[in-house]
């Protein structure tokens, strides 16, 4: 979709999760600015190389690349990035980043690293899916996002009834509460 159609609505161009070598863990592009996979990879490489040495572990950092604003935050061997247009409100982008970062933290129960992320790639992908839909911000509250994703990842082979669902949700909430307390 062209940006002009959503000109006033805050929008996200991409969400990128890379490892400490700059390799993709999970990415999602919502804009046509990078039409091919190689264009995407070039952008990721540029962003990774230029941010690699910065300290974005306690507070989210920010920089500009190719006339885009990129906010980013690192933990262990994972690098989280969120990109928006250069006239986008920087704080909205950083809210999206924080939502992504925190909900992944909740879902992986604090063990946020590349191994854990790859082993739970389904969770990461669902997480991105719950935060942004086609560039539009869907939800920014980490616990709500994690709740939505977790309620789905419970393995319930038995036929569904309202009860098992509420049970499932209860277990998920318990997990969350525990991980929050950590």
């Amino acid at each position: 979709m062209s940006p002009s159609k959503l000109e006033l609505c805050p929008s996200v161009k991409n969400i990128i999760l890379l490892d400490s070598d700059g390799k993709r863990v999970a990415v999602k592009y919502f804009s046509d600015d990078w039409p091919t996979n190689s264009a995407k990879e070039t952008f990721e490489k540029l962003v990774f190389n230029k941010t690699q040495k910065t300290n974005a572990r306690t507070e989210a950092e920010i920089a500009m690349f190719e006339n885009n604003i990129v906010v980013y935050k690192f933990v262990q061997d994972l690098h989280f990035f969120v990109t928006g247009a250069d006239d986008e409100n920087e704080l909205i982008l950083s809210t999206v980043l924080q939502a992504f970062f925190d909900s992944v933290g909740l879902l992986l129960r604090g063990n946020v690293d590349k191994k854990e992320a790859l082993e739970n790639l389904d969770v990461i992908l669902l997480c991105i899916d719950e935060i942004v839909d086609g560039g539009i911000i869907l939800e920014t509250d980490p616990s709500v996002i994690a709740g939505k994703v977790a309620s789905n990842s419970i393995d319930s082979g038995a036929p569904l009834s309202e009860q098992t669902l509420s049970q499932a949700l209860a277990t998920a909430r318990e997990h969350l509460a525990r991980s929050l307390l950590k």
Binding site: L118, D122, D133, G134
Partner: protein, 884 residues
């Protein structure tokens, strides 16, 4: 945490082995996808396979059409499973596969069933998937459910429907527009994000109805918008309404300003910043309106969060370009950001300070920057160097410390682009600030003593050859130049030999010593160096009277454009006839186009570089000098901007540039032929000057040939009374011979037909005789001119639309430079003073003080005070206003 991080580094090899996707292969995964067809579904296994498929897509792998269809069909089988987790993965992969229309039908019924499920998660996701993959026809079937979903009590379902609505509006607006009532209801939702999504959709539905948008904004700005995101949206819509309501509300407060200002006290930083940004972006914002926004941005500057500091300093940097005074309050906070860890923030802070700083703070600032320069990347250093250059041109008196700074950083380590930026800056300062010449040249001399870039060395040597001989003591540069002959590579040595020769040619006293040095160069190991030395020795040694042509050829600037010379040389075929440089065309082709492109390019990225000194005028001057008939017109006073003489998209595109000389005016017609099948020859503009009595045509230069899409120029020159600002109207007819061109061979026919083309009229106005020249301190300049040649008079301008319209009219009429931002009239003012400066033809400095007053209804009265060195000029300004 830190511990486990260290541990991981230790056994990294193990970790790589650990990846669940190690050695994954598309073919194998596609095979695995067959489990989707098992009668007894293993939900866990299926989820894993979908994850693998998604992993492949995520890594940039693509599926062929056949593969994608196959996966899609087997995935649809999974709707049988009632496993929640698996269903989520099914939704995800369907969106990623983006099935074609006939495939969509297969899943439609399953998804519609999910849309009516009791499970909210099913409903929300099914809506999102269905709306993503569906086309218009299907939409009418599900419209009813979507409408209901918009007002669903579960916020996740409502948001899913609303966001899908926003996407669908691009493709099926007529359907989504029917949801208006439901969406309106959703705007009142208690759920924060539902409100945000509903507001976004409602605005998009109504965006073409200005009145409706204005009503929406009016009602919501009074009401209670809960979500910060929705609040940000509302601020954007409000600014849009303010922008569109335009300047027709000059009286009274700016509408909605109060709302924006109240948002500055919101509890969410996102909203505060959005409001502050909206205020700084207001059209013709006043300093009173700016103040509260600047105050909150100032608070952000000292935040612990880099994102907040960046957002604030970037906005303030932008404000500083138009309202430097408004930002000065933040200078102290800004200075602490110079050492910010985040280099983007530091650079933005520096460039902001350089814009807002006054003359007295320059020295302190330079000290700060000196500490800061050593540890930033080259690209940021270039931004700083460019900011320093413009600062130096702004405060010429400070050249000493700025030049010192430049020379210091020139000595330090740095890449080519960075060094080039510094050298360019020094060259510009030498050219524009006479006092800086001697020290600047010496700094450059020192630099080439130890310069690793051949390009820069040769450029500097060339520049020394031009500027060095004009200094008080040219001999002191000789040592630096001759050192190059000993120590450098052949290219630099050759360049140094040429420079030496230039000194010898220009300074007679040095000639014998230069001869000695050049003779030594005859033993150089390189051909080019020896050749040059030999050539210069014989030229300089010859009799000056007879060899004037040779000297001109060697030391004068080459008046033939290099591009043209290159083409001519390529076309030259060896024959009896020697190549004659005089036959090379001297008109510069397509030069205005290139200029336009450069000017149109918006400076982007961090701290847009300041635009260099007007190069257009330089290139015009060179172009005109290349035409011998104009050589005796004297110095070019001013070239106007190009005025279009044809409508856009016509057969022939013509614009004109007016070149003003003391006693002549030259019209340069830039023509483009936009018809591929035509070649125009002997193009000329027939000018009728019957409505311009003081002008008489003296010369016209036709354009020999004008092929398709390659710009060319034809000139017409007029004589006019010396120094007088004669005005008049000229009508123009383009006359030419048309020749048909064969589109396949590109060859033109031999016979042409004469034809004419009517162009728009052209006017020479008083403003053409005044150059916009700013003064840094108007009051000082005004006092120093004194009241001797002051002329004051009052004028009634009659009823005007607004005060600012009257001010702009007078500024445009005079074509002078507004000073100190006085061209902006604060809203609601009843009176205004505007200060203008300029240079009148004949190089007479003129200052104008305009006092406007609004009386009664819309009548504007104006007092005009003019000061200059020449009372006839002061009178002339009054005449312009009186007759304008």
């Amino acid at each position: 945490m830190a511990q486990s991080y260290v541990k991981k580094d230790d056994d990294r090899d193990d970790e790589v082995e650990y990846s669940p996707f190690m050695g994954i292969e598309k073919g194998a995964v596609l095979q695995e996808a067959r489990v989707f067809n098992d009668p007894q579904l293993d939900a866990r296994r299926c989820s894993q396979v979908i994850t693998k498929l998604l992993y492949l897509l995520n890594q940039g792998e693509t599926f062929t059409k056949v593969e994608a269809t196959e996966v899609f069909f087997s995935v649809t089988k999974l709707f049988q499973s009632r496993d929640l987790g698996l269903r989520r993965m099914v939704y995800l992969i369907i969106k990623e596969l983006s099935p074609s229309a006939d495939e969509v039908i297969i899943v439609t019924s399953s998804l519609m069933k999910d849309m009516n499920s009791k499970t909210d998660m099913y409903r929300a996701n099914a809506i999102r998937v269905l709306c993503r993959i569906t086309d218009g026809t299907l939409l009418t079937q599900i419209e009813r459910y979507l409408k209901q979903a918009v007002v669903d009590k579960n916020p996740v379902v409502a948001s899913a429907a609303l966001v899908s609505g926003i996407h669908l509006l691009q493709t099926n607006p007529e359907i989504v527009k029917r949801w208006s009532n439901e969406v309106q209801e959703a705007v009142q939702s208690r759920a924060a994000l539902v409100q945000f999504h509903a507001l976004a959709l409602l605005h998009q539905i109504r965006q073409n109805d200005r009145l409706a948008v204005s009503k929406l904004v009016t009602s919501l700005t009074r009401g209670n918008v809960r979500s910060p995101l929705a609040q940000c949206l509302l601020i954007r819509y409000t600014s849009q309404v303010i922008r569109e309501s335009g300047n027709n509300t000059q009286s009274g407060e700016r509408p909605f300003y109060d709302y924006l200002e109240s948002c500055l006290r919101h509890k969410s930083e996102m909203v505060i910043f959005e409001a502050a940004k909206a205020i700084t972006d207001l059209n013709g914002v006043t300093s009173r309106e700016l103040t509260p926004a600047i105050t909150v941005l100032q608070l952000f500057l000292s935040s612990s969060k880099p994102v907040l500091r960046f957002a604030a300093v970037r906005t303030l940097n932008k404000v500083a370009m138009t309202h430097p005074m408004a930002v000065t309050n933040c200078n102290i906070d800004m200075e602490s950001l110079i050492s910010d860890q985040n280099r983007s923030i530091a650079t933005l802070a520096i460039t902001t300070l350089l814009k807002t700083g006054n003359e007295s703070s320059v020295d302190r600032l330079m000290k700060q920057i000196t500490n800061f320069m050593s540890d930033i990347a080259d690209e940021f250093k270039i931004v700083v160097v460019e900011a320093i250059r413009s600062l130096c041109l702004k405060f010429p008196l400070k050249y000493r410390s700025l030049m010192n700074f430049l020379s210091n950083i020139l000595r330090e380590e740095g890449g080519f682009d960075y060094k080039k930026a510094i050298v360019d800056s020094i060259v510009i300062l030498i050219r524009d600030i006479p006092d800086a010449k001697e020290s600047g040249l010496l700094h450059l001399c020192e630099f080439i003593e130890d310069c690793e870039f051949t390009y820069l060395s040769t450029q500097i040597l060339h520049f020394l050859g031009i500027e060095g001989p004009k200094t008080l003591d040219p001999s002191k540069y000789i040592r630096y130049i001759y050192n190059r002959v000993h120590l450098e590579n052949a290219t630099v040595r050759a360049s140094a030999v040429s420079t030496l020769a230039k000194f010898g040619a220009s300074v007679d006293a040095l000639k014998p010593r230069i001869f000695v040095l050049l003779r030594r160069c005859l033993f150089d190991s390189d051909d080019e160096v020896r050749d040059r030395a030999t050539l210069y020795l014989s030229t300089l040694g010859g009799d000056i009277e007879t060899d004037i042509d040779v000297r001109d050829f060697l030391f004068g600037s080459l008046d033939t454009p290099l591009v043209n010379l290159e083409t001519s040389l390529k076309n030259y075929e060896p024959s009896e006839e020697a190549f004659d440089i005089n036959l090379v065309p001297k008109e510069v082709k397509s030069q205005p186009l290139a200029d336009k492109k450069a000017a149109g390019k918006k400076p982007t990225g961090l701290g847009a570089p300041p635009t260099g000194p007007a190069s257009t005028v330089d290139s015009y001057e060179r172009l005109l000098l290349s035409i011998p008939e104009f050589a005796n017109f004297g110095k070019l006073f001013k070239s106007s901007a190009a005025v279009e003489l044809t409508e856009a998209e016509t057969e022939y595109a013509v614009n004109v540039v007016k070149h003003i000389f003391d006693t002549h005016v030259v019209f340069q017609y830039n023509c483009i032929n936009t018809i591929p099948e035509q070649l125009l020859e002997d193009v000329i503009v027939i000018v009728d000057a019957s409505e311009a009595e003081e002008f008489s045509q003296v010369f016209s230069k036709p354009l020999r040939s004008l092929p398709y899409d390659s710009p060319g120029q034809t000139f017409v020159a007029f004589e006019k009374p010396d120094g007088s600002p004669a005005t008049g109207k000229f009508s123009n007819i383009l006359k030419f011979i048309v020749k048909e061109v064969d589109p396949t061979s590109g060859e033109a026919e031999d016979d042409g037909v004469e034809d004419e083309y009517q162009l728009e009229d052209l006017e020479v106005v008083a403003a053409d005789y005044i150059l916009k020249v700013p003064v840094s301190n108007f009051r000082n300049a005004w006092e120093s001119l004194g009241p001797d040649c002051e002329r004051v008079d009052e004028y009634g301008l009659g009823p005007r639309e607004s005060l600012s319209e009257a001010v702009n009219t007078v500024i445009n009429l005079l074509g002078m430079q507004p000073c100190e931002g006085t061209e902006v009239v604060p809203p609601n003012s009843r009176s205004h003073t505007c200060l203008l400066s300029g240079v009148f033809i004949g190089d007479v400095k003129v200052l104008v003080r305009l006092s406007f007053g609004l009386d009664g209804a819309k009548d504007v009265a104006m007092k005009l005070a003019v000061r200059s060195d020449d009372e006839t000029v002061s009178d002339a300004i009054h005449e312009i206003v009186a007759s304008g």
